[in-house]
């Protein structure tokens, strides 16, 4: 039988976000507001990965991110890698880094926090980057990696 490989198509210019844990693909899409951009997007999920077991990948044509923007996904996909593509070639590889401050992305796990009771943009200080821990700017309680919910 002929060896057939089905791959999402290569892009000429843009960004490939690789090594996204399969179960957070849609969170990444939401954090980066990819549902609102008008460029071509292809994604694959539940792909085999030696590192992650199952991974997802997103390819974005003609889309480039500044660090501050892309680093937001580090909350849910700390091992994500970025390939910057120009003329079908990878011209730069980047890894995401958990930022010092997280604004408007995560939900505070404290139900008595003001941010869960009034329309307030959430704000956290990142107090641990490896095993992500977020300290709420308002109620000062800690939300750990297992309890991070995206707004």
């Amino acid at each position: 039988m002929k060896d057939k490989k089905l791959e999402v198509s290569a892009i000429e210019n843009g960004t490939v976000i690789d090594h996204i844990p399969a179960n957070v693909l849609f969170k990444v899409i939401s954090i980066l507001n990819l549902d609102k951009i008008d460029k071509q997007i292809t994604f694959g999920t539940n792909l085999i990965s030696k590192k992650l077991g199952k991974k997802a990948i997103i390819k974005l044509s003609d889309t480039f991110f500044i660090d501050k923007e892309i680093n937001k996904i580090a909350l849910v996909a700390p091992q994500a890698k970025l390939n910057i593509i120009r003329d079908y070639s990878v011209v730069e590889k980047r890894i995401v880094e958990v930022p010092e401050e997280i604004i408007g992305i995560a939900k505070c796990m404290n139900p008595k926090c003001i941010t869960n009771n009034e329309r307030i943009v959430t704000r956290f200080q990142v107090i641990s980057k490896s095993n992500v821990k977020l300290k709420c700017h308002y109620c000062e309680k800690i939300t750990d990696q297992d309890h991070i919910e995206i707004v």
Binding site: K112, C113, I114, T115, E118, Y138, E140
Partner: protein, 303 residues
């Protein structure tokens, strides 16, 4: 200088700022300076009832010659009409020079301080912070011990949920304090605070009863063990009496030792302690007025 700066969390102030407030409190205790707040209006917004704290703040403002507006529970405010906290703070800011705020939700004082240009003093936001209580605790400790440095403090009761012990611990870490934590297993001091003490190299012990350490204590800081915190009611029945401080238990303690309590007490300090010269909790409440005078005057840039 602390001028025109909100007081939301005890960690907003440095050691020098604590000491400056205590020094001012001492000045106000000797001379209330009633003209200082002339023409100033302070709003006390109490979204949940707290008679002692509210009266203490209002007493402080009135003694300084200021005027007080506000409400003592949210049912008498526009919150019942669905007004947001944001709108309430924006509106009230037009009517006063400083806002003192108590709210059942955590983080409200920080939020309020960010939506208004006038200073906000946190008078308690849920289980989060109550910084003026901590400053009055520091004042009480300094007054009774003559110093804040190198003291031994025994904290007793609900060390898990008690915001006053957490804030006091954080503040006292600046003064090389030794801590003894006395609580049932279910209400032990949370790990993050012990971790913090370890990092600073400060000494502490943990035990279920007073033990021999009571003789070393300069301060016994009692808190209320709340029945509703226990998952096992039998465990509560077994432990609750261990934390009823009786006068006899003060035998052999230091002459200068004082018993503090943020109040209200239920039964964790027997009334027979009240007549002891070591009982200080009622004077501690009085100290709250001087300390709040100092905080208000300092924040408004009047001192």
């Amino acid at each position: 200088m602390i001028n025109n700066k909100s007081l939301v969390s005890i960690t907003d102030y440095s050691k020098e700022e604590y000491l400056r407030i205590l020094q001012l409190a001492d000045e106000f205790e000797k001379n209330p300076q009633p003209g200082l707040l002339k023409d100033k209006v302070v709003a006390t917004l109490f979204f949940e009832p707290s008679t002692r704290t509210r009266l203490s703040f209002e007493s402080a403002v009135l003694k300084l010659g200021g005027k007080v507006i506000g409400f003592s529970d949210s049912s008498s405010s526009s919150v019942t009409k669905g007004e947001t906290l944001y709108d309430t703070i924006k509106i009230v800011s037009n009517y006063c020079d400083l806002i003192v705020m108590r709210h059942p939700l955590e983080g409200t004082a920080r939020f309020a301080s960010e939506v208004t240009n006038i200073p906000v003093v946190n008078a308690g936001d849920g289980a989060n912070q109550h910084p003026t209580q901590t400053l009055l605790d520091l004042y009480s400790i300094q007054k009774t011990q003559g110093t804040l440095d190198n003291l031994t403090i025994m904290m007793v009761g609900d060390l898990k949920y008690g915001r006053t012990v957490h804030s006091l611990l954080m503040a006292m870490t600046q003064f090389q304090t030794t801590f003894h934590f006395i609580s049932p297993d279910e209400l032990k001091m949370p790990e993050e605070y012990k971790y913090y003490l370890n990092q600073l190299g400060l000494k502490y012990t943990e035990q279920k009863d007073f033990g021999a350490n009571v003789k070393d204590a300069d301060i016994i800081y009692m808190t209320r063990v709340q029945k509703e915190r226990f998952s096992d009611p039998i465990e509560y029945e077994r432990t609750k009496n261990a934390y009823v401080l009786k006068n006899k238990m003060l035998d052999g303690t230091k002459e200068t030792m004082k018993v503090l309590h943020p109040l209200p007490r239920v039964n964790e300090i027997d009334q027979d302690v009240d007549s002891s010269p070591k009982a200080y909790y009622f004077t501690q409440a009085l100290n709250g007025v001087f300390v709040r005078q100092a905080i208000i005057a300092s924040i408004l840039g009047l001192k």
